[in-house]
Every structure is written in C-alpha cells, then in structure tokens.
C-alpha cells in the first residue's frame, strides 16, 4: 500500500505559479532582472536587486555546484522519518542564484559531498500537482 505523501508541500502563489508549473513539466525557470541583468531566487515580480518591475521568466540550465549542506540525522518533521540520513543543501546555479534543495544520494557522507562539486537538477513528482526540483551529482 502506498502511503500518502506527508511532507510539507509548497502552496503556489500568483507570482510563483509559473515556477511550480514549469517544475511539474520538469523544467527550472527563474525570474530575471533586465536592469541588473541578473537572475534571482526566489521568484517575485519586483526584483529584490534593483526593486525594478523590468523582470521576466527565463529557463535556466539546471546545472549547479554544491555551496553547502547538512546531513540530517534527526527527522525535523514526521514526514522525514523514513528518509534519514538525508541531505539538505544550498546549491549555486550556473546562472548565479543560490537555491535550497536536497541532494539525491544513497548513504550520504561528508566524503561524498564535496563543496563545489558539479550537480544537475532532477525532478521528483511528489503529488499530482507538485514536482520538486532536487539535485544529484553530475
């Protein structure tokens, strides 16, 4: 019997509907500030870099490097009881922004997790509506 997914789920908002819709299609799209000529995370219509409205959605490569991580041994929520140890991480996308995610890896150890190691996005379809972008070693 398949257990219902019981981890926290995102609740998409008007300005993040596109992000989660594209994730469901297994694509990673971010907001781009045309004035600063920089991507930023997380998506919001008005740029936090310049406070400009001159922003747009753009697809990014899904390539990243490992910025930092933790190997979680004590489940922080009942939904993660069967997952420990698992890896929470910040990854630096090739396009610049840093984003929160999980590193998908069996039996994670500090030896296997080298800061700066190349990663690529994978999408986990956790419900009919939500797919989470995660990363694995490239």
């Amino acid at each position: 019997m398949t257990q219902a997914y019981n981890k926290p789920l995102p609740t998409p908002q008007v300005e993040s509907d596109m992000y989660w819709q594209k994730a469901k299609e297994h694509e990673l799209w971010l907001r781009y500030d045309n004035d600063a000529q920089q991507y930023y995370f997380y998506p919001r219509d008005i740029s936090p870099i310049t406070f400009s409205r001159n922003t747009e959605w753009r697809q990014v490569s899904g390539k990243a490097t490992l910025y930092t991580y933790a190997i979680v041994h004590r489940p922080p929520h009942p939904g993660f009881v069967d997952d420990v140890p698992f890896v929470t991480a910040l990854v630096e996308l090739d396009e610049g922004p840093i984003m929160p995610t999980n590193i998908v890896m069996e039996d994670p150890t500090p030896e296997k997790l080298v800061i700066g190691m190349p990663l690529e996005v994978v999408f986990e379809d956790v419900t009919d509506e939500i797919s989470l972008p995660k990363f694995k070693p490239a």
């Binding site: 926290p8 995102p10 609740t11 933790a70 910040l90 800061i115």
Partner: protein, 380 residues
Amino acid sequence: MADLSKSVAIVGVAESDEIGRVEKSNLQLHAEAAYNALEDAGLKMSDVNGLMTAGTSTINLGEYLGVNPTYTDTTAVGGSSFIIHIAHAVAAINAGYCDTVLVTHGEAGRSARSRAGANGSDAGPQYESPYGFIGAPINYAMAARRYMHMYGERRVRQGMAEVAVATRKWANLNPKAYFKDTPMSFDDYHNSRWIAWPFHLPDCCLVTDAGGAYVVTTPERARDLPKKPVYVLGAAEGHDHGVLSQMKNLTRTWAKYSGPAALQMAGVTHDDIDLSMIYDSFTYTVLATLESLGYCEPGEGPDFVANQRTAPGGDFAMNTSGGGLSYTHSGMYGMFLVLEAVRQLRGETGERQLDDPKLCLINGTGGSLSSTGTVVLGID
C-alpha cells in the same frame, strides 16, 4: 542621533518560578517572570506603562497580566527580539511615551515540542520546508558547513568543541542550569550523536520550558529602587534576511553592524568589556558572532576560544550562565542573556560571579542567523 547613552536603566530581572521541564502555558511563564521581575525591581504592575514581548501580541499578554500600557511593542524577529526591545525601550522612554517598560518572555519549548506544519505561502515554507529545512539545527548546520569549508574542518570542529565544553563548565556552577549536575568532556562531545552533520547533539541548544522578564525605567526613578541600576550604554539592531537561502554570507551576521554601533554609542571598545553574553543557539553561532562583532577577524573564532579561554578562570568571560547550550533555551533565548548580564553586573551570581565586572556586551541572534541586537550594559 541624540546621545541616549545611559538614559535608561534595567532595574529588575527574573525567570519564571521554575525553568527546565515545567508543564505550564506560555502566558503563565510570562506572568510568573513578570511578577518576579517587578518584585526584584521593587515596583508594582500599576507602575508599568510600557509593555513589550515577542511571540505573542501585547493585547493577549496585557489582558492576561491585567495591564493597560500606553506604549506597546510586539517586535518578533526571533530570539534576538528581547535584546532589540532594550533599544526600543530606550527610544520609547526618551520620547516620553512611557517611563517604565516591562519586557516578558514565556515559552513552553519542551512541553510543546511539535513543530509548525510549515505549509504556508511565504518563501520559507514554500521553497525550503518541502526539502526539510525545518527548525534551527538544520539551517545553522548548513551555515556551519560553509564556514568549515572556508576555514578548515579540523580547527573549526575543535573551536565548536571548545565552546560546548567551556559553556558546560559554567552551567555546572549555575543552580538553575539544566545541566547543573552533568559535566561534559571533550570525549563526550566528540562521541555524541549527530543531529545534522556537522552538528553533534552538544553543538545544539537545549529545548526547555522557561519564562523571563526585565524592567526598564528612567535613571531618576531607578535611584529610588532597591537594586543598583544597570544602565543601557549602547543599543543597536538590524537584520539581513529571513530564510537561510537568502543569506548572502553564511559566516557573517548583522552583528557586523549592530556590534560596532552599540559600542560606539556606549563610547567603549572591545577591550573594555568584562563579560560577553553571546547568543549560543549553536556552537557555530558563537564563532560567527565573535567574528562579526569584531572581537577577532573572520575565520579566527576557533583560535579566539582555544584552550578553554571562555571557561571559568579563562581570560575571556562569556556566557557565564551556561548559555543556551547548557543553562536554558526555551526557543527565543535572548531574554536570558539579559538576566545573566544584569546579575553579573550586580554581583548576584554566587559561585560563578566574575570579579567586579563593570561592562557587559550582549548580542542576540534570531531566526536563521537573520537578525541581531547588540546592547552594552554598565554599572557605576
């Protein structure tokens, strides 16, 4: 800015009746601490016309306590809030909105341990919680891992261990400390279980039930009260980000700005400080904060705390209560930094009392290394 140094004094401090494992509601812990702090101050609730807290609104708190303040402040930016309230009390009293401010905290952090479902629409719940970024240990562990990468895993590990072991020694001298009777060796530290690598269990603060309160008033009024006034010489605050993934430099907190600002307002330097009360949600928080405050350069934290320098008898007095790591930590620990600072300056801390301290620096850190408040306290 007007020179407001030494324009208000802290005149009463207290915990709730008991701390540690207490089956009481949050508001009952607030009320007990308020009662005890007013008693310590020699004041009555009817003297209070300013009310400040974090974690609940002053309308709920004021109703429960039976007080109708003319000035209220529900600033809630994490565990640092109660340090920031000192700066707000300085402003409010000098502006004339009130003359006696009661600041309270109460949190059944242990008895009510369930974590929030974290299923909202904000950035944290939307982009972080689905991945298990829930609770402080995981977030701070990721910041600590980055720091290790920058400054060397072995020496950072040793620095974290030094902080954990030294702080435990202070707790062993504090009758109110959760770990009063539990010593910890370096081997105990290194052999303890992982919570979120790189954090061992003793890298992480306690989770207790506790309340605390303090009372701030004018120097004129303070002169007529039983306890020696502890003056607010400098106070500053600020914040950098909300969720960890928005923090631009995981090794520098806003103490980089609030620390120098508070010292400048007080007209003193690091070398003048006799006691440093540094919010120790995690061992790593201490290393990053000492550096951000300017006690040492970036990356030098592990050397600064080496050889049990912050332990009883060491030459840098820090977290003499036993800290959030070993004394108490209800969830928003900042309140308890103030209690220990005032008691040390008054000479009321018994076995762990420092030799005639005159100046204390307090730094609170809240959220995911998000916000800071720095205060310099002094006694004549």
